[in-house]
């Protein structure tokens, strides 16, 4: 039924990212750029990560060894925009949402979140293996005068709903409108980029259409050092990571012993 929304002759994309963990410095610019772009609220005390609201979160992982053999890597984690295999219900969050508040778009490959439909049951949060979804425990408030910087392209969210990374969908809409106005049906690679990609000082995030051979991500995801998070779950996520450090790739796939030996990269 949902596929029916999409016309057969319309241009389709499969937007995704390749994040180079060798370049990522863990600086946090992606997190801040995301918060600024998407009107994320903040509170006086944000130190409890279970209640703090980040769409893009940079995880710090270690190889678990002792001084001086310890090693650390950062893993920036936006929504993985899982495609699943075969049919829409394979996207974990989409398959459990009773409110049709989240859906997989076959036009863009983006997993949407409709705040006005969400009634806060949080099934999706339980279903998401990547913990990308966050719940609004409070109505957002801004100190006096600060709501001036809010981005009018992104609605603010009320208490009681779940939200998550949208791949800056409003930027897609903006770019699409512009292209249509110029009588184009296809977006250029640089016309639509997410806020985190644009901000990253290390150039570690590359964003584009994973199925378009002209786009940088198409080639980058084929690196022998590329992997995806928890690939064995079959979520078929659209965020690829690249690391030349073996332990990082292994940690990303959460291999247990011989598991994952036969995992291939689509």
């Amino acid at each position: 039924m949902k596929e029916a929304h999409h016309k057969a002759d319309e241009k389709t994309y499969k937007f995704g990212m390749v994040i180079d963990l060798d370049k990522c410095t863990g600086c946090g610019a992606c997190m801040v750029a995301c918060m600024a772009e998407n009107n994320l609220p903040f509170r006086k005390d944000n130190s409890d990560r279970l209640r703090s609201n980040l769409w893009m979160r940079v995880y710090k992982i270690s190889n678990g060894r002792s001084f001086p053999d310890l090693d650390i890597s950062f893993i920036p984690r936006p929504c993985q925009h899982c495609e699943g295999h075969g049919h829409h219900a394979a996207t974990p969050c989409v398959s459990v949402c009773p409110a049709t508040a989240t859906d997989y778009s076959h036009e863009t490959g983006i997993v949407s979140q409709v705040y006005t439909r969400c009634f806060g049951c949080r099934y999706c949060m339980a279903a998401c293996p990547y913990h990308v979804r966050v719940f609004n425990w409070w109505d957002p408030t801004w100190p006096k005068g600060m709501s001036k910087y809010l981005n009018p392209d992104v609605s603010v969210r009320m208490r009681g709903v779940v939200e998550k990374c949208s791949f800056c969908y409003h930027r897609y809409q903006r770019a699409k409108n512009k292209a249509y106005a110029e009588e184009r049906r296809e977006l250029h690679e640089d016309e639509y980029q997410t806020a985190c990609t644009q901000a990253c000082p290390a150039g570690a995030i590359t964003f584009g259409d994973l199925k378009n051979p002209e786009h940088k991500v198409y080639k980058l995801k084929k690196s022998p050092y590329a992997f995806r998070l928890l690939e064995k779950l079959g979520t078929n996520p659209k965020i690829y990571y690249v690391s030349t450090r073996d332990w990082v790739r292994k940690a990303g796939d959460v291999y247990l012993g011989k598991e994952g030996k036969d995992v291939t990269h689509a």
Partner: protein, 779 residues
Amino acid sequence: MKLDRRTFIELIVGFSAGAGGGFMATPVNWKLMDDMTIWSQELWPRYQLGGLKGSLPQQGKVTHADSVCNLCPGGCGITVRKVGDRATKIEGREGYPVNDGGICPLGAAGLQLLYGPWRIPSPLKRIGKRGSGNFEKISWDEAINEVVQKLGNLRQKGQSHTVACILGSDEGTVPRLFDRFLTAYGSPNFIRTASAEDTYELALGLMQGTTGSVGYDLERANFILSFGSGLIEGWGSPVRVIQAHSTWRSGDLKDRATVVQIEPRLSNTAAKADNWHPINPGTEAALALGLAHVIIKESLYNADFIGKHTFGFEDWSDSSGKTYMGFKRLVRTEYTPEAVAKITGLPAKKILTLARAFAKAKRPLAVWGRGKGTVSGSLYECMTVHALNALTGNINKPGGVSARPQVATRSWPEVERDATALSGSRRPRIDGAGSNRYPLTRYLPDRWSQVMNGGKAGAIQALLVHGADPYFTTLDSAAVAKAFDAIPFVVSFSTCLDETAYHADLILPNHHYLERWEDLPTPVGLQKPILGMLRPVVSPQFDTRHAGDVLMTIAKSMGGSVASAFPWDDYETLLKETMGDKWGSLEAAGYIVNEGYKPSAWSKAFGTPSGKFEFYITAFDQAGVKIGKDVGYLPHYEPVQPEGNPATYPLILIPTELMRLADGAVGNPPFCTKTLEETELKKNDLFVEVNPKTAADYGLSEGHHAMLETAKGKAKVLVHLFEGIMPGVIGIPKGLGHAAYDDYLAGKGVNANSLIGVVEDPVTGLSAAWGVRAKLTRV
């Protein structure tokens, strides 16, 4: 009962659950719920949001304005997205010669500082006790009048030399205006806040005979040896260095650059490096000399450069026939890998391997400046690292290091000083810089408070602070607080309510950086001269005035030669005049870059007495520096002892610096504080990093509260067990412990500067402290 959407959904779900009996068994409920939520979303009004009172962000025409960020010395180009007259987002400016589109977390959060409640809304005058945070609004006329009267009185009493200015920079028109004001008014006390630049400028002056700041050609280097520099943690111009780091990480694996980090702690830089060598803190100079030993012994140095363009490498004799030891002999005899291994804790074998790899690399580069480069550091340590660059002939070369000039601007007419100005300017500086004891040093930002507390409490009668937060950033917070208490009149030009402003008597708020014109000289560490131009992106949000204009108004109101030193109508006129023929392109493009700039060839590069690069510093004698021993003329290892008695304080505390935590003159905005790890801040408590072995010795586990104590102070902290820190060493992040700003920052954590004191460098008088002795007890 009012029926809202939530209740409605609950009712329907409840009803269908009851009616359906086996709620989980039938799909009917789910289908109903699905249809009902989609249908009902159109019936209820849009969100009623507390903060926005029901209104969504106002729409308007979207425009973009380019400017430059000055939240740190990085000087990145920015593009501000505007909707109507609101600034809604700061992004890195594409094509800007410093950061080409990239931005750091602090820069991206700049609008929180623009629209934040920590802005100072108008001139404020303290009422009640200093530091109580009680101010009253006054008019600009009253505020300026107050400064004019106070400074006028001091000048009349012949005490003009007791007025001091503290600024974050001494370059650019606004800092130069303050300097000019003091010259015309009659005081020598212009002070620049501390940074690694203080020491590197001196090292370049002594070894190369050049003026100017250090420029690193990071992008073209292919072997980067960092002596504790937090390359990707805010060192230098942060975005530029992170971009250079990505360059090192690009291309085929075998062609990539090698990065080696020397540091007692696994910082992010160390984690990203190809090799991390933890060494005993404070022994970096010894390691540099150990590497020099191997390079010299195995003849891996650049013989052409060393032979033709250096002085003091070999032993030499003066005209009287007296022989002096050269750098080579010193290093060969004193710094064998075995001896250095003992000092640093790094095995001799690793020293050998590292030295060979460094010297044999195509374009090796040794970089210096701990952490973000926010402390001055030891002169000899800086010289030993710079000597490594000289050994590899890496001076003024692609991928090397050079002394970089500024983009030239028009000079100002000479100040015509009256008798008061002349006599006042000739008085010794309060911080002792330029005195017989420290003849080379220009500013001693960590020393003035120590001098005042050491029996010269009346030395500063009035203090003007601009673009700096010395109350927060100066080492030994208690001493600084005491010195501030002794200053009868403190004036802050700050935009935000920072610590200095909080403890000031009068605040004359400057425009925010997105509201004003101002030139921004070359960012720290850049190898080519760049001039950026801040421009107003939004109109002033509060009753603020440009600090340049305010200072000129003060000067003009004082009359006489002070007034006539400022012949310009206003700051904008002065700015345009100073930029001269460059104004057109600065106004149009927002910056000027000297792309074709190349450092001088070796034959013309050095302005030392010998005309060569000097391993043996002849300028010491010329300047009258008392060196005492022969080895003092050469880069050598002189241990900087951390303050404190080892018996009382068995551990070593070192400050750590985080990219996500601003620790300079600008307080961390809420977005950045929100990105801090759960192992860095918990509620209002700061974590310190402790090796699990050390923690076990003191009965401490993860998340335990502990009392951290040094000779300078104590603080309650939380313990984070970290395998990346050397046993016996504790790491404390810099940047928290504010009392000012507001609830989003104030009261969180501890100011690391309150635990660490000053250890004076014997030659420069700058603080060479890299840490302090400490003890940690469970509470």
